[in-house]
Symmetry: C2
Subunit: 174 residues, 2 copies
């Protein structure tokens, strides 16, 4: 089965959760699933989905976890290096043919915020093993990334509770 490239982008809620739902569906068919996240700090937020995914046999990797918003001492250069390390790991996983579905959660943000260059991310799309289903999430997917993808969902926030001052809630946002 030829694997496609999915992108879940836009300002609305549902990008990461859609990727997690795909992971669950794929595990239900015994597909091999890897989940790589960028710019998220489980040590801070304790993303509850990670524990369940691990139990279900999904391998989880995190890169560039410390966001400058919360860690004033971290430099853009350090974050870039960690993102590049992530790309290296992805290429290693490609060579091992380790997964049927690989999720790159928030990698669009790495590009949008300048930690990765467009060519570097395009290279990850182009180097994808033919049978691998690859999923990218995060706001602000670039036009060239969208052109390379087979499936693009733009999740628009018609209403978002953050807009009316409702804070992140345990079990719903993390």
């Amino acid at each position: 089965m030829k694997g496609l490239i999915h992108i879940y982008t836009g300002d609305g809620k549902g990008k990461t959760t859609a990727a997690i739902g795909l992971a669950i569906r794929a595990r239900g068919q015994n597909l091999r699933v890897g989940y790589i996240y960028f710019h998220k700090e489980p040590e801070r937020w304790g993303y509850a989905e990670h524990g369940i995914l691990t139990k279900l046999g999904v391998d989880i990797f995190g890169f560039a976890k410390k966001h400058p918003h919360f860690h004033k001492d971290i430099t853009a250069d350090e974050i870039r290096h960690e993102c590049l390390e992530g790309l290296g790991v992805i290429k290693g996983l490609y060579r091992e043919n380790k997964y049927d579905l690989l999720i790159l959660d928030e990698i669009n943000i790495s590009l949008r915020d300048g930690f990765l260059k467009e060519d570097e991310v395009l290279d990850i799309l182009e180097a994808k093993p033919e049978n691998l289903e690859l999923v990218l999430t995060g706001r602000g997917a670039s036009q060239k990334i969208i052109e390379k993808a087979d499936l693009v969902s733009d999740i628009q926030a018609i209403k978002h509770p953050y807009d009316v001052g409702i804070q992140r809630r345990k079990g719903i946002e993390y």
Copy 2:
């Protein structure tokens, strides 16, 4: 914690998977989760996510499973009766205060296709217990339903593989 009403609508891929991802996140925080689907026929498609959700302690209920597209002998009236039975079950679950998160997958379709009336679905939103987080999915959410919701994500299909003739794939679409 006050529970919100979420809607995931639009033509793009990611509505049901976003709801499943939310279910996983909520279970990761030990919230009690119920999942009710309309107009889906697992006997036909074997939705792989259902087995995993059940193992994770999510209760699953299905109504109006037989779609007229595949079952020419079923009448609109029969489907309406099954949808109404679903609403009855939802109200029973409300009274029991059984869940922290309740997903009504594809209920927007019940309304869009005329099997349920707008007032009947609005009544389900209005009768929601205060602490329950309620999630509705499906294309074509009506304006009044959107007005009652706290969080609305409109998932637009910028690219969809069905458009280029790629069929439903095991582990990805079901």
